[in-house]
Symmetry: C2
Subunit: 344 residues, 2 copies
Amino acid sequence: MNKAVTISDVATQAGVSVSTASKALCGKGRMADETRTRIIETAVALGYRPNRAAQALSRKPMKVAALVDRGPEEVQSHLVRGLRDSFETYAAFNVDYDIFEFDPISGSAEAKKYLYDRYASLDGLIVQCDDVVTEEVNRMNEFVNIPIVTIVSDSEKIRSVSSVVINAETVGKLAAQFLAMNGAKKTVIIAGRSETYIHERNIAGYREGLETIAGGTSLLGVWYSDDDWKKAYDCTKDAFEKNPDIDGIFVTSYLAPSVCDYLKEKGLEKKVAVIGVDLYDETEKCLRDGSLNATIYQNQYLQAQNAVDVLMDCLSEGYRILPPVRVKPELVMLSNLECYTHRK
Amino acid sequence: MNKAVTISDVATQAGVSVSTASKALCGKGRMADETRTRIIETAVALGYRPNRAAQALSRKPMKVAALVDRGPEEVQSHLVRGLRDSFETYAAFNVDYDIFEFDPISGSAEAKKYLYDRYASLDGLIVQCDDVVTEEVNRMNEFVNIPIVTIVSDSEKIRSVSSVVINAETVGKLAAQFLAMNGAKKTVIIAGRSETYIHERNIAGYREGLETIAGGTSLLGVWYSDDDWKKAYDCTKDAFEKNPDIDGIFVTSYLAPSVCDYLKEKGLEKKVAVIGVDLYDETEKCLRDGSLNATIYQNQYLQAQNAVDVLMDCLSEGYRILPPVRVKPELVMLSNLECYTHRK
DNA sequence: CTGAAAGCGCTTACAG
DNA sequence: CTGAAAGCGCTTACAG
């Protein structure tokens, strides 16, 4: 390994002081265009790459924030833990972080205020949020452009950002193949909120899966639970009243336990295959008692970790926009549940 | 965020100089036991965590090596790529690394020589290797104790190490549940090398899975392919000659494509469910043509990444032995294959 | 056995 | 507009 090129090499070569070179390279302060150009050119010519450790040690703390809209406690907690853990690993890089959780129904105003108050002082932002807040983020980012990373939201709606995404179609396809494998022929979907981007894509993927992979299995209908426990139960009930011979159910939201409750009450849990989404205590119980056959874990912890990593990359590489990072959906069944139970 | 505790805080509190604190904390040089203990205790009490950026900046380059025994090209390459990528992210941390691949059959002597030549100058080591080399590593580590991280080998055989492991029983259980879900009743196992730790644990897990999860499915027998393509084919043939009504096969090694070849020749590929292990081009093809129903991917890339992370943690935390890191087996089917095809 | 001092590669007030 | 100097938190010869 050859000795790395340092900023002082660049400075000497360009005939300026280290401080001037530094300012030229990180684009701070004012200086003669000619000087800046010359410095940058010699840096490139010499193959200079800044030493991150040294940068971290000398600069003042970087300020970043994460704005997340609160989901069901146990799902959300994985996300927040992932953010926290990941930020902590960057502690050595001198970053100050703040995680702000707000209620998706009532908290939009709160989230907006948070943004107004802080945006100007932030170096980077992670958001997982609804349309209202998204709009706000877009608006602010037009004035002060900082790197933004979105977590599994309607990423198309936020401009100039990097993102962490789950392939919602794949989730649907996986569910279709799984139910077919379990011998299901007549299936239904209990979806989350109607018209939601993710759920619609889940459904589309499921349809595709039925056609391309699991011929012989059909989709009888889709019910929308609006992410409400009681309503999910009612949907299930309604579905069975209309189609008593259902033998497979795909629940696109975290409400599968509610669906399982209905099945257990009616003694149908062994006859109907059910696959859900996400993983928390209730889900685990259902996997254990056999009423839930599998769940597709959209590793929130990993999503959060990736978001932080991407943000840090953006920040240290001159605010580039990075390609989306995809988190793979993980199929959790009774046999591999133990790999997930200690997911801190 | 409170200001982080620095080594100078620790030094002041313990009533020593910064240099003494540093030496105590990274276990270098000789010093009064009493002093060292006191310093370490105050560091713990204060919640001191060394600033890695500063460490990286001040110490001379760390020398680490990875010793891996070459498996089938495409499986191995994920491992090596994972090591390389991960080491590169530590470049700013001032580490020099070397990756040494050797042939598991003929290369033990070569590997030994490599160890003799370098061991003394290394700060850390990653090994994925057979028993002979393992013995050697153990022996050397008695003289010069450096942190060692093992990747999915018979970790019990290397003492004083951290490790990255795959739960081999879970892989077996997963296979059992999967085949049962596919309606298989009479199954066989085509295993890798006989008497190999991992394969035996795969088989044990499979048996357990059949009992606890997949009642009604039976295991007719186990054939050993010795990790040889031709032999795997022959085993399959032999199995079918003895049991023409086999309807499920678990291949514990990467040789599933060979098993699928037999099935396709005999036109049995739609009637027999097959689940294999690992993922590379041949495996992908079989998933696509439907002769292979699923494979259990033991994410080598991730294993390697984790190994490097663990090693770096060991090195920066005063050579502690860290608890094993478990890599989850991932079930790959046609429906989620796309998540794996761009696995660089 | 212990400590003072230099230095790792950067950034950032501050002074010219 | 440019540079000298201090300082970030650590490690490591070197001197006591």
